[in-house]
């Protein structure tokens, strides 16, 4: 089994809501509430869930771009949860991020050469003399012409910009890249190009991805393992194929049934969920999915189900299933 690049244990992130004259904390948005997962070297772990389920917050907490409230994050065997920012800065080159919006994630004031070259010169990966050569190599790697080196971000299309973001992320030779909805803002045809590119780069460089997306078909395509999140909790985690062929959690089943199949003749039973996602400020006691679950039982309202392994490499947090031990 390859080494784990990231281990996340019981990650919690609450965003306080302040109110009153003295700005006291009156409630908390429980964005991430006890999530655990790991990513192996060279692996893609997909994180899916609908908007507001906490997947982006979880991804940013892993990189400590947001400070976690509780929990433990281990990166390359080193615990970084409470590490000082100064020390963390030395580790940052090894963990990079690609954002959803390729328009806002590139500094409009810098040329491509500076955007891609800055971090590697700053961290002494290459000398400033050699940085131009390396930037050209990286541009070549992501399928952009090295002549573009002195252009500004606004001179590129969305797909090209996302390639620049990828080149920038790769510049520091990272072990992990968090892809936060990295293809959601792109056209479908460009999406597949970028996914293919990410896949090729992974094979070539052995980088691991934490791939965050709400689009299941995208996650299925690129991920080795997938975690499904609902309202700040991980409800199911399994290998990609297993999750698709044998979804266990009612929420996962509903999600998979909602993925469109490009064949009008295929007849499928769609599971349509009732109601809206409850507020993360005041989630239901017991199972968080209870208010929308078609199979809800009385125990679901009282006891919160724990994530447990019910088959090999397949965990689910649901009272319908019993542990395999």
């Amino acid at each position: 089994m390859p080494a784990k690049i990231v281990e996340v244990h019981d990650l919690v992130k609450y965003f306080p809501i302040k109110g009153g004259v003295f700005q006291k904390t009156i409630a908390n948005v429980k964005a991430v509430d006890g999530v655990s997962f790991y990513i192996q070297r060279g692996e893609t772990f997909g994180l899916v869930g609908e908007s507001g389920c906490g997947k982006t917050t979880a991804g940013r907490c892993v990189l400590r771009l947001i400070e976690p409230t509780k929990g433990k994050i281990i990166f390359n065997g080193i615990e970084i949860t409470n590490m000082k920012e100064k020390e963390l800065r030395r580790l940052r080159p090894k963990m990079q991020i690609i954002f959803q919006d390729p328009y806002s994630s590139l500094n409009p004031r810098l040329t491509i050469k500076d955007i891609i070259g800055e971090a590697m010169v700053y961290h002494g990966i290459v000398s400033s003399k050699d940085s131009e050569k390396r930037v050209k190599e990286l541009l070549d790697m992501v399928g952009l012409s090295s002549e573009h080196i002195n252009r500004y971000p606004h001179e590129f299309s969305g797909g090209q910009r996302q390639r620049i973001c990828i080149a920038r992320a790769l510049s520091t030779e990272p072990d992990l890249i968090v892809c936060d909805e990295a293809v959601s803002a792109l056209d479908v045809s460009i999406q597949s190009q970028i996914l293919k590119l990410l896949e090729n780069l992974q094979q070539k460089l052995g980088v691991a991805y934490l791939f965050i997306s709400h689009a299941l078909n995208v996650v299925k395509y690129i991920s080795h393992r997938i975690g499904v999140m609902y309202l700040g909790k991980m409800v199911e985690a399994a290998e990609s194929e297993e999750l698709y062929s044998h979804p266990l959690h009612p929420y996962t089943k509903a999600l998979i049934s909602a993925v469109p199949v490009p064949d009008p003749k295929v007849k499928r039973q769609k599971i349509i969920l009732r109601g809206d996602v409850p507020s993360p400020i005041n989630p239901p006691a017991g199972c968080r999915f209870v208010s929308r679950c078609p199979y809800a039982m009385s125990i679901c309202k009282e006891t919160e189900p724990q994530l447990q392994e019910v088959a090999s490499m397949h965990s689910v947090a649901c009272h319908l299933y019993k542990e395999t031990s």
Binding site: L63, L65, E85, L88, R89, R90, L91, R92, P93, M95, Q96, I97, F99, D101, S104, S105, L106, N107, P108, R109, L110, E118, A119, Y122, H123, Y152, H154, C165, R168, T172
Partner: protein, 306 residues
């Protein structure tokens, strides 16, 4: 770029014409007679008529206006009714003092405003941020003449640190520059803060942090350059405020600059002098805005001047 500058200058001609026309109309509409102002209420009517004739005030208004425009185009702004000196010479004498005041006030405003804005944004909601924003709000709201008088009282009379009026040395300029400058510093601080806060929330700032850059590099290399665009706009717009502000400041501190000259010209109904000062100020304002627009191109590569 040169084409752009030329076109901008051509476009500003109607502005200059408008400004002179409005000033001319206003001068002739407001009550008061320049000749009576010169010779006094009890002067012989015949003398008054004679002077009016000499000064060309009996000609139809349109002729008077056109005469002013044609002379102005040739660089002749006429002679002051009151002193008989050429208006251009009087402006040339007064302007350097105003320029010194305005530039030192600008310097005070930018240094204080931008640094307070940056610290407030980086430490949003801290004690420093809250207190500075309250001070800034007070600074924007307080009228210049009041602040000037209070400053004279405290720093001039009570503490005796600075002279309170006249302009004989650089030391005389310190208090007026601070009074005029802090007012603009207040609005610059608020604009810098909000512009920087907008930028700090962008993904490319998160990216810069994720790159592992130091906080200083994130703020100064990545955030500040982007945040400066709205601030530069404000700086340009404040140029006019600085000139009008200098009218009050110069009056309170008795500084012989353009501001004090225009107040004096107005009270004396010295038409050519008023027209000349207004025309000169308008031209300065137009040039100031042009410089601001050109500086955009350097700050923001997305703006290509055409």
């Amino acid at each position: 770029m040169i084409q752009y500058i030329i076109r901008r200058l051509i476009f500003s001609i109607p502005v200059v014409i408008g400004v002179t026309l409005i000033t001319f109309i206003l001068l002739n509409v407001v009550p008061g007679d320049p000749v009576l102002e010169m010779v006094g209420k009890y002067a012989d009517p015949q003398t008054v008529q004679q002077i009016r004739e000499q000064l060309g005030l009996n000609d139809p208004l349109i002729i008077q206006y056109l005469r002013f425009v044609f002379n102005a185009v040739r660089g002749d702004l006429g002679k002051s009714f009151k002193t008989g000196l050429p208006v251009s010479k009087m402006i040339a004498e007064a302007f350097p003092t105003t320029l010194k005041l305005a530039l030192s006030a600008y310097l005070v405003a930018i240094v204080i405003g931008v640094s307070v804005g940056i610290i407030s944004a980086v430490r949003q909601y801290s004690f420093f941020d809250h207190s500075m924003m309250i001070v800034a709000l007070a600074g924007i709201s307080a009228p210049v003449f009041w602040v000037a008088v209070i400053a004279q009282l405290i720093f001039g009379l009570k503490l005796g640190w600075f002279p309170i009026s006249g302009y004989y040395s650089l030391k005389h300029m310190i208090l007026p520059a601070i009074v005029l400058g802090t007012r603009f510093a207040a609005s610059i601080a608020r604009y810098t803060r909000s512009a920087l806060l907008d930028v700090i929330r962008q993904d490319y700032i998160r990216t810069a942090r994720a790159k592992g850059l130091s906080e200083r590099a994130v703020i100064f290399i990545h955030a500040l350059k982007n945040a400066m665009i709205p601030v530069v706009t404000i700086l340009g717009m404040q140029l006019s405020g600085l000139l009008t502000g200098s009218i009050l400041t110069e009056s309170v501190f008795a500084i012989p600059g353009l501001g004090r000259l225009s107040v004096w010209a107005l009270s004396e109904r010295d038409y050519p002098l008023v027209q000349g000062v207004v025309l000169f100020t308008a031209v300065i304002y137009i040039l100031g805005n042009l410089i601001v627009d050109i500086s955009y191109a350097f700050l923001n590569p997305r703006i290509r001047l055409q």
